[in-house]
Each structure stands twice: as C-alpha cells, then as structure tokens.
C-alpha cells in the first residue's frame, strides 16, 4: 500500500473510501448477525440464526422478543 511517498499520496482517497466501505460492511455484518429477521436468508435459517445468537443478543443489549 505505502510503497513510496507518491503512492501514498495518490492512494490516499481510495484508501479512505475503502476504509469507510469496509467499516460499514463490518457494522452491517454485526447487524445481520443480531437483527436478521428473514430479510436476506430463508425464514428457517433466520429463525435458527435468531435462536443461536439469542443469549448474545440479549447480553449485548440489542432489542429482542
């Protein structure tokens, strides 16, 4: 990434954009893990995920049933 000074300079914006995108992606993954209600996966799978992550969801303070 930081091969030379010019590389750093010209890469600065894409790196920032990539960082922001990755951070948002990580946060969305957390949301998926804790609040997936059958939006992206089948209801059965969502139900299983919901039950598997259930104690963690409560402990992390995320609203549940």
């Amino acid at each position: 990434m930081a091969l030379s000074n010019t590389a750093v300079a010209s890469n600065k914006f894409p790196t920032t954009a990539l960082s922001v995108a990755l951070a948002v992606y990580a946060l969305l993954s957390v949301l998926f893990l804790l609040q997936e209600n059958g939006l992206l996966i089948s209801p059965e799978a969502a139900n299983y995920l919901h039950e598997a992550t259930h104690d963690a969801r409560h402990a992390l303070g995320v609203p549940c049933h």
């Binding site: 990434m1 992550t53 402990a59 303070g61 995320v62 609203p63």
Partner: protein, 277 residues
Amino acid sequence: MVSRTLGRTVGHGAVAGAAAGGVGATALYWLVEPSIRAAIAIEEAGGPAGEAGGHSHAAGGDHAGSHGLAADALVPRDEQVVFALVTVLLVGILIGIAFALAHRVLGTRLPGKSPAGSAMTLAGLGFVAFTLAPAIIVPANPPAVGDPATVSLRAVTYLGTIVCAVALTTIVTALARAKELAPRSRAVAATALGIVGSLVLVWALPNAADPVPANVPADLVWEFRVGSLTQLGLMWLVLGAVFAYLTPSQVVTRTSPPTPMRIGRRRHLQPASVAEV
C-alpha cells in the same frame, strides 16, 4: 496517516476485537448467563394464563416454543450458550475491524497526543455512543421481559439512538477541539452542547422501553442490566487498550521518509514531521 498498511490496520483491529470478544464472552458467561437462565425459567413457568408478560411467547407466532423450552427447542439450551460465546467473539472482531478503520480514517482529528491515546479516546466515545446511549433509551432486558409486539419499534429506536448519539458525540468532540474558539469557550460550548443535546435526544426519541412484567423480579432485571453493561464496558476497554498497544506511536506525514515500523513503537518519539495533535 498512521504508518501501517490498510491490511495491517484491519489485522490489528481484528486482534484487538478478538481480545475484546474473548473478555466479553467470559463476562457473558459469568455475569449475564445466570440472569438469562433465571429469566428463561420464569418464561417457561408462566404459560398463557400467567402474569402480564407470561403470555408473550405463546402469542408470539414465530417465537413460540423457542428460547430453551427443552422439548421442542430449535437450538438446545447448552448449544445456545456456546453460540452466545461465539457470537460475542464474532461481534467483537467485526466491531474491532470497524473501530480500527474509523481510527485510521479519523487520524489526528481524534483527541489524544498519540495514536495510542486517540485509540483509547475513540473506545470511550464508542462506549458512550454505541452502548451507553441505547442503554439509557432502550435498556437491555433479559428474556421474559420483552413484548414481541413492540420489538420493531424497539429495534428502530435502538438503531436511531446509536445514529443520533454518534452524531452528537462527533459534534461535541469537534466543538471541544475547534481551533476558532478560545480554549475556555471551547470547553463551555462543548459541555453545554453535550448536556442540551443529550436532553433533547432523551426527550425526542420514542419511549420504546417495555414495562417489566409483574412476574419478573426487579432484582433480576437489575442484575441482568448491570451484567450486560459491565460486559460491554469491558469489551470497549479491552478493544481500546489492545488496539492502542498494537498501534505504532509515530504519525508519519506524507512528506517524511518511510519509517521502519518497529522503530519508535510506543516510545512517544515525536519527530518534527508529526502532525499537530
């Protein structure tokens, strides 16, 4: 710009997040699980004829029969506990990665005299915006308390609170560091905005918290909330501390020659090229 590659930032974030997740999982096991167990026992005892909250599961459609009812549980109780620990670990890693990237992007705009110091500051701000604020507006509840009918409102309020709290925290922090103002006015303005902003948020956000049903002891809810907050507080603390430990202390500007990573690490060397913090 902190002198490490993007991959390294993500790696350090993941390691710090895994440490936070590990500590969080331990805290969950020792501090929160006992209350969850007690709450599930109450849930199972209270049938449709039970007290105020006892009806929730029987009436809860897709939720019915779940949450540890031994016979027809989708995920057995002991597996649920293991999954809980794994989930906390995963959430820790993902939050750690997001944290590291935020630290990288914000850089010297964060308060703190060194990247390690600003990592601790960011963890503190993260605790306030992502944990404390939603805990005040929509407090954490053990199973047996929530009403399935209000879960959507609570979830939206929870996320909305985090978004508003992140915005307020950002503005207050920026105001506290505004170069245009004299140091004293900065402090007064930031404090005033913090207080007024918090009051406005508490007033404006929907009152979505469910009442605690009569068959759930207040002690149990209290213990659960203290346990949950302790777990989350520990996670932010460990995340900030481990990330700070891994962070190279030199902030290299674009014009300075490349500096070997290890030299000056955590030694608070402040070369002339270090950006003013």
